[in-house]
Each structure stands twice: as structure tokens, then as C-alpha cells.
Symmetry: C2
Subunit: 337 residues, 2 copies
């Protein structure tokens, strides 16, 4: 983008010369493909199978760059993962930016390049986009919306209604890294300096298990609200109870002690490279062993089981007691994703 | 939403209790349908035809409410219109909000209800959504992303490459209302008080003409950058020249004089209920007469024609002269949509 002003101005969002320049010299260059290059208002996708899955998310994470990722990587992985846990093969993304006047073009470029790399790795194509600019002080650097389309190829019936008592609950690794990494950076706490977000595309690992395991009931990614809130949502919607074994939930050492200092329970901290699987009892062990062979599943564990009930999540604590896990409440953890 | 705090707090965006309450009591209530009610991370759409069209837009218009519409109506119409001008039948929308802490819940409710009504009128279903909240002073009330999916049912080949010399250029009415309405409100100029945005869903009128006229080459909605910028884009991409007859371009009286006072050319002001059609010569008159029978087309005019060339738009002025129309440049018109 040499020769252009090196900061984002309101004119970059007015649909004129500078918008055009930004689109051609940054977005088209980074995401280049036949769909996007057509520059039509609406892009035609063909050879679509009969069933597809759609998911949308806006990303407002602060700071824009953090150990383990940045808002661009997160915006791609977040939507790719939502499609993957729904049992779909992620295929297409739309990307829409809300930029703040005064943003440096080099920061934007870094984020866009990161999105391009992550999309390529995840095998998704950016087919449409949009850019708006708001005045300085009316936004915060970069907000990104991604909307994803995936193909539902296999006829798999995943969903809340498929859960049965005895089903096992599995997580593909340690929880809380993303949330705690962002929080400690937001507040410059000077602790947890080796913390790193787990932000990653789950497309490949999930594709692998969907092909191999017929007993998968449902998958969900425990992002905002963490493992506890996501489990509570599934329990509520399925009207089953879940028993969760605290000593089985993998938590990395630094997450544990930094969480303790800050009074934050890792079970309520966001993850961006984790998925919960509920699977029929007799496949749970093999499933967990299979996950452990994948780099994104090396710390996989069976952490609990489904019971008859009406939507409670009960944590069997280290000390042999039981406490209910409810939705995250009263501890606002802003701008985690 | 009685009994809840009446302003948006950071907790409304943390994925916990308040997020859930907002989703259930406002979004699900307003947009209710089977897709959305499933509350899955990714929603399954089935019976999809082989070809579909996707379009995405973020909306940051300021003020949120204006004569003729509001950010909610605009966010639905904007994406619906992008699909319609692509020759698709708009079917599904995803909706994603970025809210500013401190926003009054009643303002949000008004916008969401307006979106619900507009979506119903346009016959599109809201199938997925997301809500994020940013701290006071890091956003501006409400930003909305909508991503739309339409079905390309008829096998119509619309596109830049189909243009031929002699083709006529048609607009379905007066230009500049939306842009000038927003600008005068943004700056509290106290003039143009009877100005009103033309914000409207073009789905029906476009469906009608697509069914009846086989000679349509391309359609585009002249939003940001106005009629002139959109024509220049089409000319550039098709590598044809366009001759535009200034005395044929419909401009409403108040837009003309307020534009003159402010030094703004209506040809460069945004529209939100207009579409340009390029159609083969021998169908242009009948097409224009047909449009005039529709409430959104009563001021339709043939405004110019396609000529051999390499991407110039030439305006034949009232005074018999010729001047080139280029992309909007140097006059930032912020937050029009």
C-alpha cells in the first residue's frame, strides 16, 4: 500500500477512490479467489449440496494482538469452529470490517494477512466482504464480522435431542487459556506472562472424528462463558443432567494459579480451540485415545457423564462435594472475542 | 424486557445470564422461527438449490433513526437489495450486533422490531445471530452486520461481461434522498427538513422485472458513492463507456436545492431504494413503463446508454457540454449506511 496515506481515514469508508484502493490493494490481494475477484454485489456459489450450515459472529477482542493470535485469526477460527462443531465442513466465509479513523494501515494489514493465512490453513474461501469506517473515538481499531457457510455432507443427526443417560462428556484439552490470556493483557496485570491463547481451527480434528465415530451426539465449542456455561446451555436445551468430575477437567498449571490469584474459575473462562463432545458410552474411551493423537487433542479427557434430569450441571469437586454449575453471571469479562 | 436493567451493560455481551436473557426476550421473540429457535451454534438450512448468492454488509449509520427509516430497516434492506440486484431471491439473513455499553434497551428494542418488520415484509428469515458489547466510548450505540443468502433460481446470466453498445441505462426513480437526509441530520443543519430517505426493499419490484424481461444485462444498487460512482464501477469492470443524460436523471426538488446550498452533487449521494438496470435497447421503453406502475418505480427514467469504450462515464450536461464522472473522491460522506 505504498504511496497511500498510512492511516485509515473516513474516506476509506465512503465507497469512493480510497475504498476501492483498499479493497484492491489489500483485501483482494490477500484473499484472492475467483468469487471475490468478480467484485459483484452478491457472489454466486454453485454446486451447493442440499444441506448447509450457517453461522455468524462479530469479533471485538481487545487487545487486537495477543499471545497465540490476533483478532483476524480469531475471527476466522471462531466461525470455522462454530460450523465444524455443527457437523459441517466449513467452506466459505464473508468478512466485514468496521474500522476506526486513525487506525494504522500496517496494523490492519497485519490482521488481514493473518486472516488470509488462517483461512488458507482451514480450507475456507473468503467470498464476499465489506468495509465501513467510523470517526475516531466511535469505534476501537478493528471490529470484524465473519459469517460462515459449511456443507453438511454426511447425514448425521447431531443435536440436543439425541442425548441419552450414560453418554460421556469429552473435552479435547486444557480449559481457560484464551480468556485468561486476554484478561491479563487487557489489564496489564504483569502476571501470567507465559499464558497463550489456544486459538486454533478445529476443522481437521473434527473432520477426523466425524468420519470415524458414529456415536457422537453433539459437539459445542466452549467460548464465551467457558466450559461451565456451555455445558449448562446443553443441559438446559436437552433437559438432561450432567455430572462433571472436577479432577478430570484439564487445566494448565499457570491458568490454575493465575486464575486463583484473580479469583477467576477456569471453568468460566473462554476457549477458542476447544470442543466438548458428548458421545455414546461405549465409544468414549476409543474416542478420547483417538483425540490424543492429534496435536489439538493431546490433553483430551472424559470429564463427565449424562444422567436423567432436567437441565442441571453438577460438579463433583476435588473434595468429594457437589456444586451446581450455572450460567456465567455477575463477573463481566468484556471483549474476550 | 420489564424488570431487567434498562441499559445495555458489558454483561449483556459476556455469553452468560444477561446475554441469554437478551437473546430469548428480545431477539428470539422478534425474529422467531424454527431455524433460530434451535439455538444451535450453526443452523442447518436444507432444500438449498444448487446455486445461491451471498452478500455481507455492516451498518454504522449515524443517527440511528432518521426520516424514512432507522439502522435496523437499513440493515435488512441493504443486504436484501444486494441479493436482489444480483438476480437472486433473498431468503435468509444472519444478524450480528455490536452494542455500546450504556445504550438504552428501548432504543435497541425499537431497532430490532424494525428489523423484524422489514424482514417479514421482504420475506427473509433471520436464521442466526450474535451480540457483542463494547465499553462506553469504544463503539457508537448500535452497529449491525447482516449477511444474506438468496436463491438463484432462474438461469440468468447477469454480469459485467454481458453489456453491449446500444444497451440502455435505467434508474427506478429520484436520486440522492438517503445520503442528503443523513447528512443534514448528522450535522443538524436545520435545512432540508422534509427530506426523507428512500430506504426500501427492492425485492418485489426486482422479482417482477426479472420474471418479465429477458434483456436485463446487469442491475446494481447505487448506495455509497451514489449513482455516479456505481456507474463508473460498472463501466470500469465492463470496459464500456456510458453516456448519461443529466436532464433525464430524476432529482427531487428539495434534494436539488439543498444539494446546491451544501455544494453536494446528487449524483454522488447515496440511495437505499434505487437500482440501476442496464437492458438491451429494444426492451428499454417497455421496461421503464413497467417500472412506473410500481410504487418504487413511479419516477423511472432511461438515463443513458452503453457505448464502445474503455470505462468512461460521460455526462451530457444541461448546457450541452460533456464532463466525465469519476469515483467519489475527497468529499468524505461518513456513516451514510
Amino acid at each position: 500500500m505504498a504511496g497511500v496515506t498510512d492511516i485509515i481515514t473516513l474516506s476509506h469508508g465512503d465507497g469512493g477512490v480510497l475504498t476501492n484502493k483498499l479493497v484492491r490493494e489489500l483485501f483482494l490481494k490477500t484473499f484472492s479467489n475467483d468469487y471475490l475477484d468478480s467484485l459483484e454485489d452478491g457472489v454466486v456459489l454453485d454446486n451447493i449440496p442440499e444441506k448447509m450450515v450457517v453461522s455468524t459472529d462479530s469479533f471485538v477482542v481487545s487487545p487486537l494482538f495477543f499471545p497465540g493470535g490476533d483478532i483476524g485469526k480469531l475471527a476466522v477460527c471462531g466461525t470455522v469452529n462454530d460450523l465444524a462443531v455443527s457437523g459441517a465442513l466449513p467452506r466459505f466465509l464473508t468478512v466485514s470490517f468496521i474500522l476506526e479513523e486513525g487506525l494504522s494501515l500496517s496494523r490492519l494489514e497485519k490482521v488481514v494477512v493473518s486472516m488470509g493465512n488462517t483461512a488458507r490453513e482451514a480450507g475456507v474461501t473468503v467470498v464476499a466482504g465489506d468495509t465501513k469506517v467510523v470517526e475516531n473515538g466511535h469505534g476501537d481499531g478493528i471490529f470484524i464480522n465473519t459469517t460462515g457457510i459449511g456443507y453438511l455432507e454426511a447425514e448425521r443427526e447431531l443435536g440436543y435431542h439425541t442425548l441419552k443417560p450414560g453418554d460421556k462428556i469429552v473435552i479435547n484439552g486444557t480449559v481457560g487459556e484464551h480468556g485468561l490470556t486476554i484478561l491479563t493483557r487487557q489489564q496489564n496485570l504483569g502476571i501470567g506472562e507465559s499464558l497463550k491463547s489456544d486459538c486454533a481451527s478445529l476443522k481437521d480434528i473434527i473432520k477426523g472424528v466425524l468420519e470415524k465415530f458414529t456415536g457422537i451426539r453433539i459437539m459445542r465449542d466452549p467460548t464465551r462463558g467457558g466450559l461451565a456455561t456451555t455445558l449448562k446451555e446443553i443441559a438446559d436445551l436437552s433437559q438432561k443432567d450432567f455430572e462433571i468430575w472436577e479432577d478430570k477437567v484439564p487445566v494448565e498449571g499457570e491458568v490454575k494459579w493465575v486464575g486463583e490469584i484473580l479469583g477467576l474459575d477456569p471453568l468460566y473462562l473462554a476457549n477458542e480451540g476447544k470442543f466438548i463432545t458428548i458421545i455414546q458410552e461405549n465409544q468414549a474411551e476409543e474416542f478420547t485415545s483417538f483425540l490424543r493423537q492429534h496435536p489439538l487433542g493431546s490433553n483430551s479427557e472424559v470429564i463427565g457423564e449424562v444422567q436423567e434430569g432436567r437441565g442441571q450441571v453438577l460438579l463433583k469437586t476435588f473434595f468429594g462435594g457437589t456444586r451446581p454449575l450455572n450460567y456465567l453471571a455477575g463477573a463481566p469479562l468484556p471483549r474476550i472475542c
